[in-house]
Amino acid sequence: MSTFPKNSTVRQVNENQCQICMPLGAVIALRGVSGAMALVHGSQGCSTYMRLCCVEHFNEPVDIASSSLNEKQTIHGGEANLKKALDNVRRVYAPSVIGVLSTCLAETMGEDLDRILLDYSKERDVTGVDLIAVPTPSYGGSHTEGYWAATKAIISRYARPTESHRKINVIVPHISPADIREIKRILGLMGIEYTLIPDYSMTLDRPYGGKYQKIPEGGTQPEDIAKMPGAPLTIQFGETCPDNLSPGLWLQNEYGVPLVTLPLPTGIGAMDQFVEILTKITGRPLPEELARERGWLLDAMADAHKICAEGRPVIFGEPELVNAQVRLALEVGAIPSVIATGSADSRLAVSLEPLLSALDEPPVFLEATDFSAIEREALAAGATIAIGHAGGRFLTERHGIPVIRAGFPIHDRLGGQRILSVGYAGTLAFLDRLTNTLQEIKHATYRQLRKAEMMHTEIPEGV
């Protein structure tokens, strides 16, 4: 149980959502498997809304099929539609994996995905395509839980007893494609052999060129996923991941693969923790390139600390990202004013408690919250800057608090897929955004503020 102040925001109505729905997270995780296509068993609207949301964030076509259930099927069952959808997806997209995601509607109808998929495989004598069912009713959790549930379902679908090998497992939470690429670069520099999942670093951020592919190239290979039980260990960036959804915990329990749970490697402490484990595995020192990047980050932290100390960030979004950003903020002396997540079931409070309970002014902590609460608490706590997704836009529009865009979804800026915040270099890039936004506020206001203070004049509107 957490002891630092925790504000209950449990009301009946949710006003301006901080989270999205469960199947959306599963769609993103599925993009991290080679040759995979997502099929949503539900109303046509579900898949279209998810496509819209992904398209606006990633600026990439994200085709999601739907069984397009209508009134008739809600009475007679959606099996025939789902089978037809599978036929059509296979004809048009020729996927090697189809992830079938349930929705509120399908679950409420009592559709048995596993049975339908089994029947389908028998009836059609399906070869060359693996079908994976993931139950993701929107009433069961947010996109964060959907992401973990799908990742676990994918691993448990392929994993099989394997002889021990050297490749470690790396399981990443919902981060940007650029972050995944950076983690892979670090692993490469350290000389580590690994299987990273889900790897949507190329599928949700495709370079331009070549013939357009309906299913983009990239993603974790199923044959590599199959061998994950033979890994010497699993690193899961998932301090906030609930046990029942944890893919790493599942591998440990089922196959005895030791699980190392780490925070996302954002910030010097978390990144040091990550490379410490890696150096233990390889027995080699930190490569010079990473040592230099570490030095640059430290140098920048010294340069930025006084500016950062003026920031009182409100940090919101998915638990694992919030966990990482709060750690970074604390490292540079920007004490968070409000920490918030829309997710209800994470271990975020447990993870942050040791860091926050010691603070003179502990931040307000909001869980399963909405933006009406975040906005209210941010104002009350004197937040000067925000870190999070586009849902925070009213903080800027109504109160002039700038939002450093991070996380998902970001539909009001370009480049959500390229936001980098992991590794020494990625942290530095992110820290520069934070510092310079604070600088921008300072330069825009300090003359008028000093004048108002010293000469007792009124502070002009907007300062």
């Binding site: 009301r11 809304y49 409420t108 009713p137």
Partner: protein, 465 residues
């Protein structure tokens, strides 16, 4: 290239069931198959009933919009449309009853009632629209009863919207659900009387980027007042005065035609279709409105306005026309009225329309579109990314007009794109909008980026390693 743009209707679709939803202007012998359920697994660009209802009602600025269901439906539709308000901002919030598993098992009526109470207590809206979603429809929550009780309890309009997503994948069904909710709102209560005026209502106008305000300026200049728009920049109080209008203009016919017919039946208000997209359409619409009022002064002012504005924008349009002449355009939009307007506008810029499609068109609308287009142009209903990809590449399209999902695909294929959707931020209506539109078409069609991006021919049919 001639053989490429004469795509035979019989072989256009990757899925053979879709063939009959694609026709070739001047060549197809049978009518297009449309207004049906989407083909499962086809990756339709359509949405759902809830989406249709929410689009129509959300611009009511001072109402609270409460989505009764699990969180997703509210998250996806929070403040995503570009309808502007001259005052209240309530409509930009998205309320959800955020149903959890226990609510699905035990029913969500109590939670719904509690949510309405909280909203009314905190924000005092003059009305609350309560949207049903798939789950609440499935479990049989009686939202009508809950809304009735809340109306009585709070003394404001709490209006159920029967918008369970599964009822149809066709937004048009959602438009109807919204229209029924609006009729419920505007029908005078017993003993109430709404004075008849010389003002008009503007139906199917959502004030995207202030387009209603522009139309109002034109009409005011002619000496005509807008009573209320459905629903751009409308308030609950203003909507309740709707029965007092002497005429209903209907712009987005897909969303508001039924509403106009109902209002004619219930309140005796005649209606006429208008279209403010493109200079010609705008001029034509203003003339028809003037004719309805049958007042020489109004007609005279309308003609003066049209002459002045047309002369003012013509040089700009001519400039863009010079740059755009002969370029090839594709259109894929929600409804037919917009498709027709776009065909006219793009043609006016000297462009060739090689593809036109809609999500929700009806047979007679497609027939009209087919007649407008040159022989060989393709007409498509409820298309999907695989077909769009094929059309855009095979038909050598230079620019496409449509919605967000089509935009990213067009860009991936090196094709320019015009945003003619609900989240657009530029005014595309009226005379000024015609210039803005031409400018946007020019900027994207003739952008320097394409010369770096255009896929070299040798890559067109080769899979890159």
């Amino acid at each position: 290239m001639e053989d490429l743009c004469t795509l035979p209707a019989g072989h256009a679709a990757p899925l053979s069931e879709r063939d009959r939803s694609i026709m070739t202007a001047g060549r197809s012998k049978t009518a297009i198959h449309c207004a049906d359920d989407s083909l499962a697994g086809s990756v339709s660009q359509r949405a759902c009933v809830f989406c249709g209802a929410r689009v129509v009602l959300n611009p009511v600025t001072d109402a609270a919009h409460l989505v009764h269901g699990p969180i997703g439906c509210a998250s996806y539709t929070w403040d995503i449309r570009g309808s502007l308000s001259s005052g209240p901002e309530m409509y930009r919030n998205s309320f959800s009853t955020d149903m959890k598993e226990r609510d699905v098992v035990f029913g969500g009526e109590k939670k719904l009632a509690a949510c309405i109470d909280e909203i009314v207590e905190k924000s005092h809206p003059p009305a609350v629209f309560v949207y049903a979603t798939c789950v609440t429809g499935m479990i049989g929550d009686d939202i009508v009863a809950v809304c009735k009780e809340a109306t009585r309890h709070h003394g404001i309009d709490v209006i159920p919207v029967e918008s369970s997503g599964f009822i149809s994948g066709n937004k048009v069904v959602g438009y109807r659900a919204a229209a029924i909710a609006l009729m419920r709102l505007i029908t005078p209560k017993e003993g109430e009387r709404i004075e008849k005026t010389r003002k008009l209502n503007f139906l199917g106008e959502y004030n995207l980027s202030g387009e209603m305000w522009l139309a109002r300026r034109y009409l005011q200049e002619m000496g005509i007042e807008i009573n209320v728009a459905f629903t751009g920049d409308s308030t609950v109080a203003a909507l309740k005065q709707a029965p007092g209008a002497c005429l209903n203009l209907v712009q987005c016919t897909g969303s508001m035609h039924w509403m106009a017919m109902q209002m004619e039946k219930e309140f005796g208000i005649p209606f006429m279709d208008v279209n403010f997209f493109g200079a010609e359409n705008t001029a034509e619409s203003l003339r028809r409105i003037a004719k309805f009022y049958d007042d020489p002064e109004i007609t005279e002012r309308a003609e003066a306005l049209i002459a002045r504005e047309t002369a003012r924008i013509q040089p700009a349009l001519d400039r863009y026309r010079q740059k755009l002449s002969g370029k090839r355009a594709a259109i894929y939009v929600g409804g037919a009225y917009k498709a027709v307007a776009l065909i006219r506008q793009l043609r006016g810029l000297g462009m060739e329309i090689v593809l036109t499609g809609t999500q929700t068109g009806k047979k007679e609308e497609y027939a009209a579109i087919g007649n407008l287009l040159d022989e060989g142009a393709v007409v498509v209903d409820d298309t999907n990314p695989a077909e769009i990809e094929r059309f855009l590449t095979e038909m050598k399209v230079d620019v496409m007009a449509g919605g967000v999902k089509e935009r990213v695909l067009a860009y991936k294929l090196g094709v320019g794109f015009v945003d003619h959707n609900h989240d657009r931020k530029e005014c595309l209506a009226g005379f000024d909008g015609a210039v803005n539109f031409a400018r946007e078409v020019y900027v994207t069609t003739c952008s320097p980026v394409w010369k770096y991006l255009k896929v070299p021919p040798e890559d067109q049919h080769e899979v890159q390693p």
